[in-house]
């Protein structure tokens, strides 16, 4: 016979009382752990939501930058290198001229080490009447980009038109009834339709694009170009320097800067970035506020439940001690000291506490995972993160401690029961 056996037997004998205490301590441990887990899950959800929003913002930002990068080309942004003889009034009116530059300038530029420019695009432009159709068109010959060897390779901004191919603006192909598989005659040569553009609402709608080589041949300008676009100079402070570098390198040229629109774009982009950051900050603030609210509620609810459960356990312990007075008297008569009697009560409390802690751990890990299943931003790994050995240990220790604290006074009263009085009562 030993104390453990005595505790164990009594536990099952008075199973209703033991069960009631077990329920109380399970509830207390489950509530404590469950609340902590639920708070943690909400916090994880908030962190994940913010991270996801940041990621989305980054992706959207990158897409926007890419879009803007391409948009700058369509807006004729960047630096335009023209022959110095061109009268800009005519150029702005027609976007084409009779004057030209050596095509080799493009390669010279690319190899020059003009580091602030990422792309060079040599083109030839003419405003002319399409002989076969009797329509005024803007003819553009383009060869695609000349790679800048001194910069990191970048995705090409424009797709070159292959030799023998033709690209038509919207107004042209719709009014002339040209289809994608057609062959179109231009200045005595046949060109296969390479692409038909959607409506752009600009001069592009009456523009015909062919390869630079084809254009040079048609116009009798082999090795010559009308202009070279120096693309992607987004930094306003660097533009002047680039212009100087180019003019120094390519004599007989003039360089036009079309930066104001891109600056506005860049500012818009920066402003959009700032707004996104502010939104993210606001979201984080909102999440923090919600979390603080939940923590405040938990700070009231958890102690309240602990106190109620503690009171319940104390009452059960007190009732148990009262009903065991006769037994305590007998135990004292056979030689049990107050310490041993105390150990019987505390031992039982600790045992129920351990069991309650174990059940509370299960309850406290499973229920929040179920409740939080619908929460945004949680992964299944987050949901099972409550099943930790440290949580189990904490639950078991907390439950045992609660049982001991709540049962201490009744246990002490039982241990100090006057055995003579207890034995005489019966």
């Amino acid at each position: 016979m030993n104390l453990w056996r005595l505790i164990q037997k009594e536990l099952f004998f008075r199973w209703r009382g033991s069960l009631a205490a077990l329920v109380a301590v399970t509830l207390a441990a489950g509530t404590l752990l469950g609340t902590l887990n639920l708070l943690r899950l909400h916090e994880t959800s908030a962190v994940n939501i913010l991270a996801e929003k940041e990621r989305e913002t980054k992706v959207r930002g990158a897409a926007l930058r890419e879009e803007l990068r391409k948009a700058t080309l369509k807006l004729s942004f960047n630096l335009l290198i023209l022959p110095e003889q061109i009268d800009l009034k005519d150029w702005y009116a027609d976007q084409a001229s009779e004057y030209d530059l050596p095509e080799s300038y493009a390669q010279k530029l690319a190899e020059s080490g003009v580091v602030t420019v990422r792309h060079f695009l040599p083109t030839i432009h003419r405003k002319l009447v399409w002989p076969e159709q009797g329509r005024t068109i803007l003819l553009t010959g383009t060869r695609g980009e000349v790679a800048n060897l001194f910069k990191n390779p970048r995705k090409p901004l424009v797709q070159p038109v292959p030799e023998g191919g033709i690209v038509l603006g919207h107004e042209l192909h719709t009014s002339l009834g040209i289809s994608p598989d057609d062959t179109v005659p231009l200045m005595g040569r046949d060109f296969a339709v390479h692409r038909l553009h959607e409506e752009r609402g600009s001069k592009d709608d009456i523009t015909v694009w062919i390869s630079l080589k084809d254009a040079q041949e048609l116009l009798g300008k082999e090795g010559r170009v009308s202009s070279i676009l120096a693309l992607e100079c987004l930094c306003a402070t660097g533009v002047e320097r680039v212009r100087e570098e180019i003019q120094k390198l390519l004599p007989g040229t003039q360089v036009l800067e079309m930066g104001s629109r891109v600056l506005a774009r860049a500012e818009t982009r920066i402003r959009a970035g700032k707004e996104t950051k502010a939104l993210l900050k606001e979201e984080a603030k909102q999440q923090a506020k919600l979390q603080a609210g939940r923590e405040r509620l938990a700070a009231v609810l958890v102690p309240l439940i602990m106190v109620l459960c503690g009171g319940w356990i104390g009452l059960l312990s007190f009732t148990s001690a009262r009903s065991r007075r006769d037994e305590i008297g007998m135990l004292r008569a056979v030689g049990f000291g107050t310490g041993r009697v105390l150990m019987i009560f505390i031992g039982k409390a600790v045992l129920i506490g351990f069991l309650g802690g174990l059940f509370g751990y299960v309850l406290g890990a499973a229920l929040p995972a179920i409740f939080a299943r619908g929460l945004e931003g949680l992964t299944s790994a987050n949901l099972v993160a409550g099943w930790l050995l440290t949580n189990l240990l904490q639950a078991v220790l907390a439950a045992a401690l609660l049982m001991v604290i709540a049962g201490w006074i009744p246990a002490l009263l039982a241990a100090r029961t006057d055995p003579a009085e207890a034995l005489r009562e019966k």
Binding site: N2, L6, F12, M330, L331, A333, V334, G335, G337
Partner: protein
């Protein structure tokens, strides 16, 4: 073995001081079975509990085996009870959730004994309880309960056996078993203090008690 020297025990009740023991002096020597007789409420149980080191006298001295138990610490008294004294009560005071054998083994929770189980089986056989070893008190007859209590009292081989109306609830047959056990215990050198309001002829000496005095 047991000596009461001018022992008085008073209680404060609602109607003033009650003298439960009034200058009680007597001795119980080894081999003696002293029967203290008296009507209900005369102080017999108080005397027994005082002798059992469970109730400190107001005045006077109690000596057990040459030692004043009330001069010992509470733990010292518990140890003395475990080693020297056996109790038998009219109400048995069995632990309801322990089987017969576990009730008998109860004192071994205090005094470790490698032969505890053998001794418990021995006592089961001696009191005709071998078939009841794993039954709880609620499943026993009244006589079997008292025999279990007696077996528990004898488990630690005490020197002094204190019996408070042990036959009060028993039929004559079981009553005789109990009294014979007490007689044999005394015959084997133990000291027995029996308090009862019945007449019994097994005592070596009988003392009459009235209003707390012998």
């Amino acid at each position: 073995m047991l000596k009461f020297d001018n022992v008085t025990k008073t209680f404060n009740g609602p109607q003033g001081e009650i003298k439960a023991l009034d200058a009680v002096s007597f001795t119980v020597e080894p081999g003696e079975l002293v029967d203290i007789r008296g009507p209900s409420g005369c102080g017999k149980s108080t005397l027994l509990l005082t002798a059992g080191t469970l109730l400190q006298p107001t005045t006077g001295t109690v000596t057990i085996d040459g030692e004043d138990p009330y001069a010992l610490s509470p733990n010292g008294r518990s140890a003395l009870r475990a080693s020297t004294i056996g109790f038998v009560f009219q109400q048995f005071h069995l632990v309801p959730y322990l089987s017969v054998i576990d009730n008998i083994l109860l004192p071994s929770a205090v005094r470790k004994d490698a032969r505890a189980h053998d001794r418990a089986l021995e006592l089961l056989n001696r009191f005709g309880l071998e078939h009841r070893g794993h039954h709880v008190p609620a499943q026993l007859s009244v006589g079997e309960r008292q025999r279990t209590a007696l077996a528990r009292a004898l488990f630690n081989q005490p020197k002094l056996l204190l019996a408070d109306e042990p036959t009060g609830n028993l039929d004559p047959e079981n009553g005789e078993i109990v009294l014979n056990t007490l007689k044999n215990f005394a015959a084997e050198g133990g000291a027995v203090l029996l308090v009862t309001h019945d007449t019994t002829d097994c005592a070596t000496r009988t003392l009459q008690m009235l209003n707390g005095a012998l």
